[in-house]
C-alpha cells in the first residue's frame, strides 16, 4: 500500500505544480477575455447551482449565522408546529426547529459526502492509473476485482460495510466511498489508456523519458480532468446515498441532525406534518441537482 501512497502523493504534488506554474501573461489575458465573453452568455441554471452550493457550504461552516435555535434541544410545548413566523419550517415531534436541523445537518451531510468522494477518488483513481499504465496481469487482477465490486448491488455493499465497520457518520461515508471505487477505477483506467496511446506520450518515451516521469508529466495531468468532473458528479450521488443510509438507520445515530435521518423521522408524521419529510427531501434534491449541473459545466469546459 505504501507504493500506492507515494504515487498518490506525487500525484497530488504534480497537480499542485501544474496549478502553481504561473500561466503566462498572454494566457491570462485570453482567459480574462473568456470570462468577459462568458459574462455575455450567463447560464441562469449554472449560477443558481453555484448559489445553492454556496448557501449549503455556508450552512455547513457557520450554522449559527443562519438560525438561533438549537438543532438538538427541543422547546417544550412547541411540538409539531406548522410553519410560522417564529419557526419558518415548523417543528418536529420533540419541538426542535426544522430549519435549524436542516442547517446544522448540512455539515454532516456535506462532510460525509466529501469523505465518501475522497475515498472513492483516491483509491479508485490510484487503482485505475496503476491498472491502465501497468497493463498485462496487474491490469487484469485489479480490473477483475473492480468487476466483483460492481457486481454487488451498491446499497447491499454499503450496508454490509457499515455493519462491519460499525454505525456512525464517518463509517457510513466510508462505506459509500468504497462502493464508488469501482466507477472511479474504470474511468481513470480508460482515460489513462486513451492518453497512453497518444502520440505525445510516445514522443515523451522517444525522447528518453522514464516510465514514472512520463506518467507524472503527461499521463496524469491529461487523464485527471474527466476524473475530477466525475468526482463533482459523485458528490451529489454521495449525498443521496448517505441520506439513504441515514433513512434506513445505518448512518448517524439520533439526535444528530442528518438529512436522511430527518426524512426518516418525519415519516411517522406524514399525515399531520408533511413538511417534516418534504422540506429535507427538497433540500437533498436541490443539492444533488446543483452538484450535477456544476459537474456538467466542468465536463464541458474540458472539451
Amino acid at each position: 500500500m505504501t507504493g500506492l501512497n507515494t504515487i498518490g502523493r506525487s500525484l497530488l504534488r504534480d497537480d499542485a505544480d501544474l496549478l502553481e506554474s504561473a500561466s503566462p501573461k498572454s494566457e491570462r489575458a485570453s482567459s480574462a477575455a473568456k470570462w468577459l465573453n462568458a459574462g455575455r452568455y450567463i447560464q441562469p441554471g449554472l449560477v443558481l447551482a453555484w448559489f445553492v452550493m454556496a448557501v449549503v457550504v455556508l450552512w455547513a461552516l457557520f450554522p449559527q449565522w443562519f438560525t438561533s435555535y438549537s438543532a438538538t434541544v427541543g422547546v417544550a410545548r412547541q411540538q409539531l408546529r406548522p410553519p410560522s413566523a417564529e419557526h419558518w419550517l415548523g417543528t418536529d415531534a420533540l419541538g426542535r426547529d426544522l430549519l435549524a436541523r436542516i442547517i446544522y445537518g448540512a455539515g454532516n451531510s456535506l462532510s460525509g459526502a466529501l469523505v465518501a468522494v475522497g475515498v472513492g477518488l483516491l483509491v479508485g483513481t490510484i487503482l485505475g492509473i496503476v491498472a491502465g499504465s501497468a497493463r498485462g496481469r496487474i491490469d487484469g487482477a485489479i480490473m477483475r476485482g473492480v468487476d466483483v465490486l460492481l457486481s454487488i448491488p451498491q446499497l447491499l455493499l454499503s450496508l454490509s460495510i457499515v455493519i462491519l465497520l460499525g454505525f456512525g457518520t464517518v463509517n457510513a461515508a466510508i462505506a459509500v466511498g468504497i462502493t464508488s471505487i469501482a466507477s472511479f477505477a474504470r474511468l481513470a483506467r480508460s482515460e489513462v489508456v486513451r492518453v497512453r496511446a497518444s502520440d505525445y506520450v510516445e514522443a515523451a518515451f522517444g525522447s528518453g523519458g522514464t516510465f514514472s516521469r512520463v506518467l507524472l508529466r503527461h499521463i496524469l495531468p491529461n487523464s485527471l480532468t474527466s476524473v475530477i468532473a466525475f468526482a463533482a458528479l459523485q458528490l451529489g450521488w454521495a449525498i443521496l446515498t448517505i441520506s439513504t443510509l441515514g433513512f434506513l438507520g445505518y448512518g448517524a445515530p439520533p439526535p444528530t441532525p442528518e438529512w436522511g435521518l430527518l426524512i426518516a423521522e418525519g415519516r411517522n408524521y406524514l399525515a399531520r406534518a408533511w413538511w417534516l419529510t418534504t422540506v429535507p427531501g427538497v433540500v437533498v434534491i436541490l443539492v444533488v441537482l446543483s452538484a450535477n449541473r456544476i459537474s456538467h459545466s466542468f465536463g464541458k469546459a474540458r472539451t
Binding site: 494566457e27 497518444s198 502520440d199 505525445y200 515523451a204 522517444g206 525522447s207 523519458g209 491529461n222
Partner: protein, 553 residues
C-alpha cells in the same frame, strides 16, 4: 438524354447559360465575437460540362463556398449577401424543403471522407437506393436494377455482392466509388466534389479522378472541384479559381493561370507546390559512393504481427534492406499498408523486429533493452505526422522543448533555458512562442516545435514520419526548406517516410519503394524516378498529379 435537365454539347448560345452562377457571395460564421465574414465577394461561373476547380489552403473558404451553393452551411453559418443561381434560378432564398427537391437531382455532392460519409449500419445497396427512393425513381425492382447498373458503372467489381455488403467491408477507394455512384445516380447538372480524393492513396486518387472525368464526359455534368492540390486542379479543371482568406485571388482558364499567374499568391502557390519537375539540384556536396560511413544499416528486416486469437501472423514488413550514408536523406515511399511506418518504428526502437538487423550510428537497435534503449534515444528522434496529436496540450512550448533535456544528464536551469532558446531560433520560431501552449499555434508552428523537441538532444538521425503531409503547401515548402537548412548546418541524417513522391524527389538522395511490405525498388532518387525498376514504381510515378497539362506548355 432522358434526364430532367437537357444538356447538349456546349454551343455558343448555351455557354451563356451557366449551370451555376455565383456572384458577390459573402458568408459569415457566428462566433463569440459576433458574425465573422469568412467568404468575401466570391463570383464564379460553371458552364455545362465544365470542371471548375476551387483551389486554396485550409481556411481559405473553399469548402464554405461549396456548402453555401448546396445550402448545407454549418448551423452557425449565414449567407450575408450575393446570388447563387442554379440554371438561372436564385436558390439561397429557398427553404430547406425546396432545396431537398434539387439536391441529388440537379446538384449533388461527393464528400471528402469516404470512411465517415457512409452509414455503417446500412448496406451499400440501401444507401445507393436511398437517393432514388427519395426522388421516387420507379418501383423496388426497377431501383434494384438501377443500383447494380450504377455500381457497375463506377467500376466496382462484383456489384451483386457489393449491394449486400456494409461500408466496413470495402476499401477507401471502393467507398469513394459508392459515394460517386450516389452522386451521379440522377445525372445531376452539377456535382460538387469536396476534396474527393484527399484521403486516398495516390494511385487510387488517379483512378477516382479518371472516373469522375469519364462520367462527366458521358453525362455532360459540370463539376465544381474543391481541392487544396494545385496538381489535381491543373490536371482536371478547365477553369481555376484561387481563393485565399475567403477572397478570390485570381481566376481564369487553367492553362492561363498556370502559365502566367497574375496574383502574387498564385505564383507563390505554384512555386511551393512540390512537383516532379523539381529535383534536389541545389546539392553542393556530391554523394560518396561506397563510403563506409553509414548512419543507418537495415538488413533483411521482417516484422510480423499476430492476427486474431490463432497463430496466424500478418507480415507487415518482409525482408527490407537499405543503408543510409551520414548526412544524407533516405526516403521510404509507399501507400497506406505498405509497411513504411512499421519500418520507421523499428528503426527508432519502438518495436522489436521479428528478424533482421538494424544498425543506427553503429548501435544494434534490436538488442537494446531498458536503460540502454533509453540512452539510445539520444541518437535518433522521431517527428510525427500530426503536430496536433504529438504535442501535449497542457504543456507550454518551453516545457515541450525542455523536456528531453531533463531526461538525460542533469543540466543547470540556465543552460537548459539557453539551449531551448537557441533551438527555437534554429527552427525559426519567435521567442514569444515559448510561453504559449500548442492550441495557440498554427499547424506549421506546431511542427516546428516538434522538430525543435527532436533536435534539442543533438541526435544524429531524424526519422520524419509523414512530417509534412498534414500541412498546407506553402507551409510544407517552408518546413522542407527548414529541414534542408538544418541538415546542411548540423550534418543530420534523415529518414523521410512519405506517400508523396513529388516531395520525396525534392528532398531525398536515396529512396526505397515499399509495396505490401516488400521493397520493390531502391537506389538513388534520380535513378528510381527516371528508370523505375518495377511496374509498381512506374504506376506510382504516373499517378502523381500535375503531369497531364505539364507537357502543353
Amino acid at each position: 438524354m432522358t434526364s430532367a435537365i437537357n444538356i447538349k454539347p456546349a454551343t455558343a448560345d448555351l455557354a451563356n447559360l451557366p449551370v451555376l452562377e455565383i456572384s458577390n457571395l459573402a458568408v459569415a460564421y457566428r462566433s463569440h465575437e459576433g458574425y465573422q465574414r469568412v467568404v468575401h465577394e466570391v463570383s464564379l461561373l460553371v458552364r455545362p460540362g465544365e470542371v471548375v476547380a476551387l483551389v486554396g489552403e485550409s481556411g481559405s473558404g473553399k469548402t464554405t463556398t461549396a456548402q453555401a451553393v448546396i445550402g448545407l452551411l454549418a448551423e452557425n453559418g449565414r449567407l450575408e449577401s450575393g446570388v447563387v443561381r442554379l440554371n438561372g434560378t436564385d436558390i439561397p432564398s429557398w427553404s430547406q424543403k425546396q432545396l431537398d427537391t434539387i439536391r441529388g437531382r440537379k446538384i449533388s455532392l461527393i464528400p471528402q471522407d469516404p470512411t465517415s460519409s457512409l452509414n455503417p449500419v446500412k448496406t451499400i445497396g440501401d444507401q445507393v437506393a436511398e437517393v432514388l427512393q427519395i426522388h421516387r425513381q420507379g418501383g423496388r425492382a426497377e431501383i434494384e436494377a438501377r443500383v447494380i447498373e450504377l455500381l457497375t458503372r463506377v467500376g466496382l467489381s462484383q456489384p451483386e455482392l457489393r449491394v449486400r455488403q456494409y461500408p466496413h467491408e470495402l476499401s477507401g477507394g471502393m467507398r469513394q466509388r459508392v459515394l460517386i455512384a450516389i452522386a451521379v445516380a440522377l445525372r445531376p447538372a452539377l456535382i460538387i466534389a469536396d476534396e474527393p480524393t484527399s484521403a486516398l492513396d495516390v494511385t487510387v486518387q488517379k483512378r477516382i479522378l479518371d472516373l469522375i472525368d469519364e462520367l462527366r464526359r458521358e453525362y455532360g455534368t459540370a463539376v465544381l472541384l474543391v481541392t487544396h492540390d494545385l496538381g489535381v486542379a491543373a490536371d482536371r479543371a478547365n477553369h481555376i479559381v484561387v481563393l485565399k482568406g475567403g477572397r478570390i485571388q485570381e481566376q481564369g482558364p487553367t492553362a492561363d493561370v498556370l502559365a502566367s499567374p497574375r496574383s502574387e499568391y498564385t505564383r507563390k502557390l505554384l512555386a511551393d507546390a512540390p512537383s516532379l519537375g523539381k529535383t534536389r539540384a541545389a546539392r553542393a556536396r556530391p554523394l560518396r559512393i561506397g563510403g563506409g560511413d553509414n548512419a543507418i544499416v537495415v538488413e533483411n528486416l521482417v516484422q510480423d504481427f499476430p492476427v486474431g486469437t490463432r497463430r496466424d501472423v500478418f507480415r507487415a514488413v518482409d525482408g527490407v534492406s537499405f543503408t543510409v550514408q551520414r548526412g544524407t536523406t533516405h526516403a521510404i515511399v509507399g501507400e497506406s499498408g505498405s509497411g513504411k511506418t512499421t519500418t520507421a518504428r523499428s528503426i527508432v526502437g519502438f518495436q522489436k523486429p521479428t528478424s533482421g538487423r538494424i544498425l543506427v550510428d553503429g548501435i544494434d537497435v534490436t538488442t537494446l533493452r531498458g536503460e540502454s534503449l533509453r540512452r539510445f534515444r539520444k541518437t535518433v528522434q522521431l517527428v510525427y505526422q500530426n503536430p496536433f496529436a504529438s504535442l501535449d496540450p497542457r504543456q507550454t512550448v518551453f516545457q515541450i522543448v525542455e523536456e528531453p533535456l531533463l531526461n538525460f544528464d542533469p543540466l543547470p536551469r540556465e543552460d537548459r533555458a539557453r539551449k531551448v532558446h537557441a533551438i527555437l531560433d534554429r527552427v525559426g520560431l519567435p521567442q514569444s512562442a515559448l510561453a504559449r501552449k500548442p492550441h495557440a499555434l498554427s499547424g506549421g508552428q506546431r511542427q516546428r516545435v516538434a522538430i525543435a523537441r527532436a533536435l534539442v538532444l543533438d541526435p544524429k538521425v531524424l526519422v520524419l514520419d509523414e512530417a509534412v503531409s498534414a500541412l498546407d503547401v506553402t507551409v510544407q515548402a517552408q518546413i522542407l526548406a527548414l529541414l534542408d537548412e538544418l541538415q546542411q548546418a548540423l550534418g543530420l541524417t534523415y529518414l523521410f517516410i512519405s506517400h508523396d513522391l513529388a516531395v520525396v524527389r525534392q528532398i531525398s538522395d536515396t529512396v526505397s519503394v515499399l509495396h505490401n511490405g516488400r521493397q520493390v525498388d531502391s537506389g538513388h532518387v534520380e535513378d528510381v524516378f527516371l528508370r523505375p525498376g518495377s511496374a509498381y514504381t512506374r504506376e506510382l510515378i504516373s499517378a502523381i498529379p500535375g503531369q497531364l497539362n505539364a507537357n502543353q506548355h
